[in-house]
Symmetry: C2
Subunit: 326 residues, 2 copies
DNA sequence: GTGAAAGCGCTAACAA
DNA sequence: TTGTTAGCGCTTTCAC
């Protein structure tokens, strides 16, 4: 592996000159420059990024923390983030915390360690304190750190209202609102959508039932199981509000039980990834705009890295997607 | 940000001693060690990984290249890889190439650049030559580099035979085999499953139609579109063999058209992620064992990094999953 | 316009 | 057992 020293030697110039020629800042005679470039080509020289990083004290890497990738919302979000970060000149380091064996702490350490320049976190499980220590280069998705870390999230209240409006319009009388335990406990703010839904529906005299899902289990099998349990337990619900995969699970389990959708049961999903927009029937949804969310997250983070003092987050608009289930 | 020098100064010892005490290799008196540790704690010292990496000339990071994350097979694979790599002490750098604007080359450069210690590639779009230059630390999933880079893949021939067997058992007469153009062109080996399916079915006097999907488009909307087109074009097919999301698309589009599944159309998916195991009806599938695949990939790669000369890849077994669509 | 030298933060070899 | 020194590969003064 040729180093810049080798290049300088071959070109018969000093090490510093080679550096200037290759990196392009600093004066260097056109003639000399050509010689150096020729030498570099001949030796197939590539700069050692590790050394550059040590000097600049930055790595150009952003860490993304998500609970899991087999939840379509997160896989879409990660894909979008990776793309946006790439555009901004950053590489993406991925950490899925759900498997449990993972030290989320490990990744926060990487921040102290200079291995990553910043972190975007979309997890819920970890203790706040660990994050707050190094808050300058962290941005959170949907998790409130009490205003110490900028948070980006969808307009959950509006989402709840929108869903409520459609349940009401369709004449529902008894709606099931089901979401993650972590949201219920207030760790992540998506619970606000369910709160708002509840108060809107109850204000219209509609009964609202609440159920919760474990925050440690993200796979479809579990959602199917929960959907089945709920359908057994509440035979007479005529509406369900749930996140994408869970909404899908309700659709499938209802079909399996011969329940007619939307006649006997209206389903509205919250997330509205493409996944649920193509089922048969298509699921009606309150859509979180992943591209906007990703744009805000990466924008805030990169500006913070550059030293801007940003403490405010951003609330992105939700959109209604008319499907065939409500 | 405190450096090890600061720690040494505060503890009143030499820089080398501090290093030895903190990293744990080399002799250091218990007494001195305590002092150094106390100083480190006081200064909230964390080692600068960038510097360690430069010295060791390794980063502990593995790059994973996939076409996209909104294809459930890849998101599952990435999640599994990340988990396996973490167990082996590596961090994961992610690159989704589908968005196009991405330089796959950029990531290969990171290998030369020492930013990643190795690469697991599951993409199809890029030219072979770029990969072959630095083949020592690359492992491929399902893409054949002519024996120069170890490849891990499922037993596609067996997969094709298994699917054929079930179509035959169910009395199909005209089966559609649809897959990516890249596989058709031989860039990735999954095409072998379709080849084998075809020859098995034709040997039994069953007609096989072939269609292809674009390698640049991975999202559900596109699959739905293609499924619709095929159902229009071939009104009389009674069997479909396709990858997971496409199989789902066929299921939904068929239901939308009032086609009875499995009576009028049998569907077998190849991949068999959990995603398709829970639809209504459940999709019958030839399952690629992602955990095994990931295990082989990470095992081979880490051993190559350690210097072992491994050129052989690995073929993992497939498994039949009986669903309700065939 | 160019070369020499210092130093990013760390580890390892070598003396002491 | 410990301190000193020499780099890892690069960039960036600062004299020349």
């Amino acid at each position: 592996m040729a180093s810049i020293k080798d290049v300088a030697n071959l070109a018969g110039v000093g090490l510093g000159t080679a550096s200037r020629a290759l990196s392009g800042n600093g004066y260097v005679a056109p003639e000399t420059k050509r010689k150096i470039e020729a030498a570099a080509r001949k030796l197939a020289y590539t700069p050692n990024v590790l050394a550059q990083n040590l000097l600049k004290n930055r790595s150009g890497i952003i860490g993304i923390l998500v609970p899991a990738l087999d939840h379509c919302f997160y896989s879409r979000l990660v894909q979008q983030l990776e793309s946006d970060l790439y555009q901004k000149g950053y590489k993406t380091m991925l950490c899925c915390t759900v498997s449990g064996e993972h030290g989320e702490q490990d990744y926060l350490d990487m921040l102290e360690n200079n291995l990553v320049d910043g972190i975007i976190t979309a997890t819920h499980s970890f203790n706040d304190q660990a994050y707050l220590r190094s808050n300058r280069v962290i941005v959170s998705f949907d998790r409130d750190f009490g205003g110490h870390i900028p948070m980006v999230r969808s307009d959950h209240r509006e989402a709840g209202r929108t869903a409520a409006e459609h349940f009401i319009k369709r004449g529902c009388r008894k709606v099931l609102s089901i979401y993650g335990e972590d949201a219920r406990e207030g760790h992540i703010s998506v619970g606000m959508a369910h709160e708002e839904l509840k108060s809107c529906l109850e204000a219209s005299g509609i009964r609202v039932l609440e159920e919760y899902t474990s925050q440690d289990r993200f796979h479809m099998g579990y959602y199917i199981e929960r959907a089945g349990e709920c359908l057994e337990k509440y035979g007479d619900i005529d509406g369900v509000f749930a996140s994408d995969p869970l909404a899908e699970a309700f659709l499938w389990e209802s079909q399996r039980r011969g329940k007619r959708i939307p006649e006997e049961l209206k389903i509205i999903s919250y997330d509205g990834t493409e996944e649920t927009g193509n089922t048969s029937p298509r699921i009606s949804a309150v859509v979180q705009q992943i591209d906007k969310i990703s744009g805000c997250l990466t924008d805030i983070l990169t500006r913070r890295i550059r030293g801007e003092e940003i403490i405010d987050g951003k609330i992105t608009e939700i959109v209604w997607r008319q499907g065939e289930t409500c």
